[in-house]
Symmetry: C2
Subunit: 314 residues, 2 copies
């Protein structure tokens, strides 16, 4: 264990080249960071933790891990329609491994650079590998996309395709498929792209929005419960990649795209009158109904939903 | 391991009776919380992690632990002169122990109630016990107390007394002293009080400020380095409790109050002209000088400073 003190560790591995946001008035190095919020905006705040052997494998590539840790937090901002602003990073590390930290910070700060996110604070502690980010973003006052505001009659949409990250996990666990499909799935599993621009484009259009981190069924149910509505989904409408289609054909496991987590696509609802305003690539997968509960149709048959997206502590 | 899902777990143990701040526009339950920052204010942001067997003993009382976790974060806000507003809580737990969670949340939310702090978000994950809080507070624009703005000629002040928490740690590790001194020291070790009101009272008065979490020498050195100044301290001026005096008399270990962490008092500098404005209980312990470095005098003799406050990864 190399004696690196907390302050030099942050300075050495996590100093960004420049402050990216005019809102960042004071960054790393004091007891607190200082931030300004412009008139007419609210601050959106979210936090997510990733734990070794729970959320990632012990041999995970540290650069991909740094990217993914920030991505899952930016995804929460995206689902609110927030413009990312800044983050804090709480790193609990078993030891100071310079190669690991160099790669991890490269992945983390690379994605931060892409979205002009300032790393404004952090804490490094000793212990089992546990990574917590809190992310801050800006939304126009009263415009943030919520889970609780879906309306009966809204169409349900999805960005991207579903189940690719879940297939990536299957591959990590031993499933074999073609080289091309393996690459597609592993990129989605290891390097998710937060749908930040999409979230911003949905302001004033979507009635409700959530990101798919725990699986479509589990996450859509949050919208249904909090909005006190139900929904009908058609399996045939789900946007699936060739890789996931091929996996389902081979295994018969058609529930993968419904319950697999880690996709970080956005699921949102739009009133029929506003559908024409949608300018982003997305797929209609169902409709919000007054009757509570989620009804999934496959080949015209109502299916029994016994499995849900994964939950922690299950 | 009881199957409790994340959302009910947060709802069950961490729901506050009411939102305390008008700035909290949306609390727990969506992808993000939403916060307003009033005109003329900046947001102060800090994060701190506590890890089992590093920052607290495995048998730590969970109610005291909940209190302390929030207290150390509020202490960082206090040292900036910020009014606490809201926090997020990232809990990594080895299992769902209802008794532990009940007591932990009682300690955490009890202190939150005392300072009108809203718990606005969180994440619960499975793993080794690791607790991360991010705290948000308000400071009047441009008034935040910094580490980097101490001036030559400033007097150096301390709130409260030094070394009591360090003595508490010694007692936990086997040191024996009187019942009364044991109680004094353990309360300071287990239930620190963040100096929130003091921090607010120092706005427009102090030139620089920091909280004593890693020991006076280590923390004061942050002020000296960032302000590019030096300091003279007089050991005889240090505010010590009877318990710490008695420990030093018995052991000869006079460096305890200089290097022990966990006191969470404020160390600040004030120009001589502004000293008359100080209305809070505090003790002058030294003076800021132009010559860099920290010079400690004891019985009129310059002492060699070989030990510092503790650092992580040492």
């Amino acid at each position: 264990m190399q004696p690196l003190t907390e302050f030099p560790l942050i300075q050495r591995f996590f100093t960004q080249q420049r402050v990216k946001n005019p809102q960042t008035n004071l960054g790393i190095g004091d007891d607190c960071a200082l931030l300004s919020v412009p008139d007419g905006y609210q601050l959106a705040i979210t936090t997510d933790t990733m734990v070794e052997n729970v959320h990632f494998f012990a041999d995970a590539d540290p650069e991909q891990l740094g990217h993914k840790l920030l991505a899952v937090n930016l995804s929460d901002l995206a689902s609110m329609g927030a413009q990312p602003l800044s983050v804090t990073l709480a790193l609990t590390l078993p030891k100071v491994n310079e190669d690991w930290l160099t790669a991890f910070s490269k992945g983390f700060l690379g994605l931060a650079e892409q979205y002009s996110v300032d790393l404004i604070g952090g804490d490094t502690t000793s212990g089992h590998l546990t990574l917590t980010v809190q992310a801050l973003g800006l939304v126009p006052k009263g415009k943030g996309l919520r889970r609780s505001t879906a309306k009966v009659g809204d169409y349900i949409y999805l960005t991207g395709s579903l189940g690719d990250a879940g297939l990536g996990l299957k591959i990590k666990q031993g499933y074999n498929c073609s080289q091309a499909h393996t690459e597609t799935a592993l990129v989605r599993f290891n390097n998710p792209n937060p749908q930040v621009q999409t979230g911003l484009a949905l302001l004033d259009i979507a009635n409700a929005c959530i990101d798919i981190s725990d699986g479509l069924l589990a996450d859509l149910e949050h919208i249904l419960e909090q909005s006190q509505v139900g929904a009908r989904l058609d399996w045939e409408l789900l946007p699936l990649s060739e890789a996931v289609h091929s996996y389902i054909n081979e295994t018969g496991n058609w529930s993968l795209p419904l319950i697999a987590g880690d996709d970080y696509e956005l699921c949102f609802t739009v009133s029929p009158e506003k559908v024409k305003l949608l300018t982003i690539p997305c797929t209609k997968i169902g409709v919000i109904e007054a009757l509570s509960g989620l009804r999934l149709y496959k080949s015209g048959q109502l299916q029994s939903l016994t499995s849900k997206g994964y939950e922690h502590f299950s």
